[in-house]
Structure formats: C-alpha cells, structure tokens
Symmetry: C2
Subunit: 421 residues, 2 copies
C-alpha cells in the first residue's frame, strides 16, 4: 500500500468543512478591515529565503535543484514572497497597501505533535505606512478575530526591537553583532546574553541596564521608565489599540526576534486554552524590500497558524457540524428513474442540494444511504403514486410520509428547507 | 531583484477575487449534487504516479529525493492521491462516495501560453458505483457547471475504451499491447495505428473494422451499428444524461485514453469559444485502487482546468467586479482619531467593511485614497461637527455631504449599504 508522505495530512470531509468555514471567517474579517487577498506560487527561488533568514534556513526547507541548476524551495512562509511580489508588480498601488493571503507553507523537520511538514498560514501585511496606527490595526484585527472564533482568553506580548538596539548603539557591540545578542534574548538564554555583553567589554552598569530592560514585562506603565523614541512609539501603538475596547496587552521587551530586518514593534499572541500549542500568531514591522532589490518601504505584518485557529474555533464552540445533502431522491422501479433524475435537477435549479440513487438499489437500502448522508427529506417516486401524478415525501427525522404532487415537490421543499436552513 | 520562478504566477487582488468567486461556484455546485470536499497533501511519494502512469511521468513532474532518500513528487494530478486516501482512510464510508477537491498541481515542462508549472484543478470522483448512472451524473454536473459559468457552446465527446478493447481481444494483439495501440488512436495517429494492427498479423478485414470503429463519430445512433456490452453501456449513459434536458453530446470512439487503468467511458469537454484553450475537462471510469494495493472498486471521475473555467466565467459575463471597502473613516485632526477608530470598529461589528486612515494624512489625501479603494461612503470626523456630536457623511459617488449624529452613523450606513449590496 502506498503511504502518505510523513508529516503531511489528508483532510476528510468533516474536517475539510471546518477548514473552509475558518477560511470564510478569515476572508470576512479581512474584508471588514479593507484587506485584499493575493496569492503567490508554492515554489520560489531559494535565495529569497536565504537572503531573508540566512543560509541556515536551507536545512529547514524543502529545497531542490531544478533542471536548469537553480535552487528552488517550497515556501516556508509568506512574508518574503509577498514583498517580492510587491516589488515586481504591486508598488504602484496607492498606499497603504493592505494585503492578506491564506496559503500552505512547508518545513522540513522531524514531524512532531501539532507541527506538520505542510501547514497553513493566514498572513496579513500593511505596506507603506510608518505610523503607529498601522501596527495598532494589526492588533485590533487580531483581537477581533480571536473574539469571532470564540476564544475568551487571548494574550498579546509586545516589544520593540528599537529599544534594546538603541541601547546597544552606545556600546562597543558592533551593529552587525546586535542580532546575535537579540537572538539569545529571544530564546530566553539570558545568562548567555549577559555573558555576550561582558565579552564585548560593555561596562557592567550599562550591561546591567540592558539586561534589566530585556527582562521588562508588565502593562504599558513599565514603558514610562524607558527613554527614547522606540518606547514612545510603542506606547502610542498600545494607546491606539485600546481605543475601541480593552485588550489583554502585556509589554514584554524580551520579545525581540533576532533577525536583522525587524525594525520596530514585535509581538506574539497566545491563547492559553490551546495548551502546548498556545502561540497562534507572531508579527512585527520590518524592512525586507531593500534586501530583495526594491526600494525601502515601511511594512508591518503578522502570520497566524491556521491549524491552531481551527483548534480555537472548535474550543470556542464556533465549528459548524457536518455538511449534509438536503434531499435524497429515489425510484421504486426502473421505470421511475427518469422522473427521479428530473426531480433532483429541479431541486438543484432552486439551490436545494439533492442526490439521486446512483446504485440502482432497493428503496430500503437507498433510504439507509440517504440517512448516512444526513438527508433531511427523501422523495420516493413509486409506480402507484406516479400513476396519479404524485410522489411520496418522507421527513427523514420524524419518518412521517405524505403524498405530494410531482410538479409541486421542488417548490415545496425549497420552502421548507429555506426556512430551516 | 529576485524573480518569480519561471512558469509560476502571482495573483493580484482583482484576479484573486475572481478565482475565489469561481471556487464559490464550484463549491456550491458540488454541494448541490451531494459531493463532499477533501484535501490531500501537495507532496506524495513519486511511486504513486509512476505506478499509475509509468516511469516516463518522472520527466514531467517536479520530483526530488528527500533526506531519507525517498523519491518525493509535487502532485501532477489529483485522482491518484484521492484513491490513495480512499484506500487508507475512506473505504468505510457508505458508497457511493462522492468527493471533490479544488487544488493546485504541478508539471515540469517548458512554460507556454496558457500552461503553467503550477496550475489548479477541480476534481470530482464517484467511488463505489458501477452503474451508468454514476457516469451520467458527471455529465449532468459538468453541463450544469458550464451553464452556471455562462458558457453557451459546450461540446462533450464521449467514447468507451471497452468497445475497441473487446474487438482487440479476438485478435493476435496481446492484452498488454492494447494500450500501446489505444495511445496511437488517442493521439489521432491513425496511420500508425493501422500499421500496428498489420504488424501484429490482424486479418485485414478485422483491422479495417477496428479502424472504422476508432473513426466513428456522431450522435448516439452511431452506436446502434456496434455490438457488445460496452456500446450498450455507453448508450445507457447517454440516455440518462439527457433525461433532464438536452446536452451537446457527440459519440467519438477515437477518445480512448491509452492508459491501462481506464475501464469504461472516457470523455472530454470542449468550449470552442475559449479558442486554443478550449478543452476544459477530461474524465472517465477507471480502476486504480488495486494498483496501489487496495481492493478493486469501481470509480469514475473528471478533472476541470480551473484556469480555463476562469476564462469561461469572464467570457460568460459572470465575473464579478472589483471588491471594495464599503466605508472609509477619516479624522480632520489628531484629536478626532480616537473617534475615527471607534466608528470604524462599530461599522465592522455590524458587518460593514470599514477602513480608517493609517497614514495620518490630510483630509483631501485621505479622500483620494478612499476613492482609489472604491469606498462608497466616507465618514469625516471634524472638530466643529464633533463638538456638536455630529460627523460628516459623504457619498463618494455623488459627492453629496450631510451631517449625521455620531451615534447614528454606523446604524445608518448599515441600512444604506444593506439595501445597496
């Protein structure tokens, strides 16, 4: 038996229904906030991601050489492709350009619980605004999305890479070494971070102050003790985000993301009720366009893990049930099959979903199948009823059957199902 | 500047809108006919496709070795993955199992007009019925889909591989050579096909009759001259398909598909108004499960080329226009920005899409942006109006402005847009 590739998934109908339901919610909220959907290819030139994240990323990606010897990768994330697309085709759009994308991404690592080699992201980007309002809008949208999914406990942890970077600017730590320091902080290796500063001859008082800032957590008031433009900017983002209702916002200056292209705020969103898979989103403002050969443009964005949002939707009680066929049509005899097919056709033309028997089975077997498909009504075309221009309409739940005119059955069912749907 | 991979595409917002609109139509019609959506991974073990189509297919696929030395492929089509999935997880579902899938597929060939290395298919499968009703239902659904897309000229060409195969059974042509002959016929290399029969010492009278059948085209009456179960089965499929309205069906016994796993009817659908890209669908009944290590199960299915369906939708005048934001909210001064954000929030909570200024731009620049986003209304929060609890509501099309109470504006816009949407 040929197996599925390890770490990948097939989706059965019920699960697929929930995934499409989530996508509808994501499209609706994106539209409500004025974001427009785009799509990029599954395949990209691998250098797009090595330029962004360093050659180490090759190890974590599916990549291969094509026949022309070019290194190709299955996209591991969506921000780099969107910025590549922006540079080549979207830079004439009026700014701010507000985009989103719901797509699969790939990573090549040992499969483990909740982490798949093919996974899905909901990615939201604002290109062209350097105002705190753009960052704040991401938080507003994220908070609203969690509410719509029924998540009752959502926690935002927000930092700003500029705060620590500007403190490092005044020390012997070289500009190009800053990211190495930030990566240690991002991984909560605080002792190593402290050691790093010491090894670069940062005066101990300054080093102490830097480490203190990296460990700063609390509500927005903790920012009052911190000087500089970055802290003021972050305060402003928080103020705007809370304009239209409270959010569970925590300032955490240890959220820093150790990659060079992050320029401003960085944030992560947790939903503790999801347990081990509680982090549902990461985001921040960045400058990628110049790395890819484009002009500098302020950008901010975030990416949600779709698989975790589905968990959230289920926990929040927002997941819909199984999707069923409305009506099953069956014929008591060979001679009634044409009538059966025409009834199904007239139901479909009215927007009612209808199946007819494709197996030439007996009435009782067909009814059993109709029941397995969750049909609400069965229309039975019998010889005796047909002779007087009637069919038998069966309510599948109650079992009640009634005779109804062959010509009236489609209209009647449209009415009954219309009010029940 | 980093380029897109050759032969792949990015989709801009307007085009993406049309693609999602088509998907909605495909989901709706699938549901109307009682099909349920599934999804399989982008990556499959390459042998799934080499077993199905022979090792030659490796040349036409994106395939590579993973770190464990396994040959992996980006799926070139959807039927083989669906049957793999059926064998592993879906074989306990009541039959007939009616499934569909809308997914991207990949092929590794020189890019050319209308053929992309990453393309999309709408695939429909019925597993478990060997009755002609199942084949006929595919034709019904396909015809209905073309009608919904606004295609006025759609032509079905239908054959049955059993007709020629059963004639070959009585000749010196070996069973395992039949597919080679059918491939020649499928490619319309009729002289080579004729030569093939001669080289196998098929008596010239028999060979002449076989070639005559391969060249048979016309309405269902051409089948009366042909003996055997396969022709009778095909007649029955055509009869059922035309039960609920006429279709443009042509019998073409030269449509044969030279692959061993096709077992019964085979068909292709053309929409001549699409020009060079007129073939929009191919399908037929097949037996793949035993090749993959599963039990034999009758199956029939078809795959549409999504890119051509989008062309069809555009030609048929069914493509929707640009998707816009309903309302743009802007503030005349810094002090009105909080009010601006709250108005946008209250609109979104009513399901009205609303953007607010993220650039801190002047009123006139913001109105220009709002206009580029196609907003139908702008809400302007000015200092003078705000002092008396009002805002200015501007109809973006007519330019007419009116004062309206700050508290009433969301409800009022919900009403106006609700009746206009």
């Amino acid at each position: 038996m040929i197996q599925r590739v390890r770490g990948t998934r097939d989706f059965q109908p019920d699960e697929m229904g929930r995934r499409r339901q989530l996508e509808d919610i994501l499209r609706k909220i994106s539209r409500d906030y004025g974001y427009r959907e785009i799509q990029t290819p599954t395949l990209e030139n691998a250098e797009l991601f090595t330029i962004k994240s360093g050659p180490g990323v090759l190890e974590e990606m599916y990549s291969f050489e094509d026949k022309g010897g070019r290194k190709i990768a299955l996209r591991p994330e969506l921000t780099a492709p969107i910025i590549r697309f922006y540079i080549s085709d979207l830079s004439n759009y009026p700014i701010p350009l507000k985009l989103y994308c719901i797509s699969n991404c790939f990573r090549y690592e040992e499969p483990q619980s909740g982490r798949y080699r093919e996974f899905y992201q909901y990615d939201v980007e604002i290109i062209g605004s350097d105002a705190p309002d753009a960052d704040a809008e991401l938080l507003l949208l994220a908070n609203d999305l969690c509410r719509r999914l029924g998540l009752s406990d959502v926690r935002f942890r927000i930092g700003h890479v500029g705060i620590v970077r500007s403190m490092l600017d005044g020390t012997p730590v070289k500009k190009e070494e800053q990211s190495a320091f930030l990566r240690l902080v991002d991984k909560k290796r605080m002792d190593d971070a402290s050691e790093f500063l010491k090894s670069r001859d940062v005066p101990s008082k300054t080093a102490g102050r830097i480490m203190e800032v990296c460990n700063t957590k609390g509500d927005s008031s903790v920012l009052h003790a911190i000087e500089g433009d970055a802290a003021a900017y972050l305060r402003e983002v928080l103020r705007i985000a809370e304009t239209d209702g409270a959010m569970n916002l925590t300032v955490d200056l240890g959220v820093v993301r150790g990659l060079d292209y992050y320029t401003g705020i960085v944030f992560e969103i947790d939903a503790p009720e999801l347990g081990a898979e509680k982090q549902i989103c990461g985001g921040g403002s960045y400058s990628l366009s110049p790395l890819f050969g484009g002009k500098a443009v302020p950008s901010t964005g975030m990416a949600f893990v779709v698989d975790r949002l589905i968990l959230a939707m289920e926990k929040g009680g927002k997941a819909a049930g199984k999707e069923n066929t409305d009506v099953f049509v069956l014929a008591a005899s060979e001679s009634q099959r044409e009538s059966m097919i025409r009834i199904a056709g007239s139901l479909r033309r009215r927007g009612v979903s209808a199946e007819f028997d494709l197996m030439r089975r007996s009435m009782s077997k067909s009814l059993k199948y109709a029941s397995s498909r969750g049909a609400r009504y069965a229309v039975m075309v019998g010889d005796r009823e047909a002779a007087s221009g009637k069919v038998l309409l069966r309510n599948m739940e109650s079992g009640v059957q009634e005779e109804i005119g062959l010509e009236d059955v489609a209209e009647e069912l449209e009415k009954r199902l219309g009010s029940a749907i």
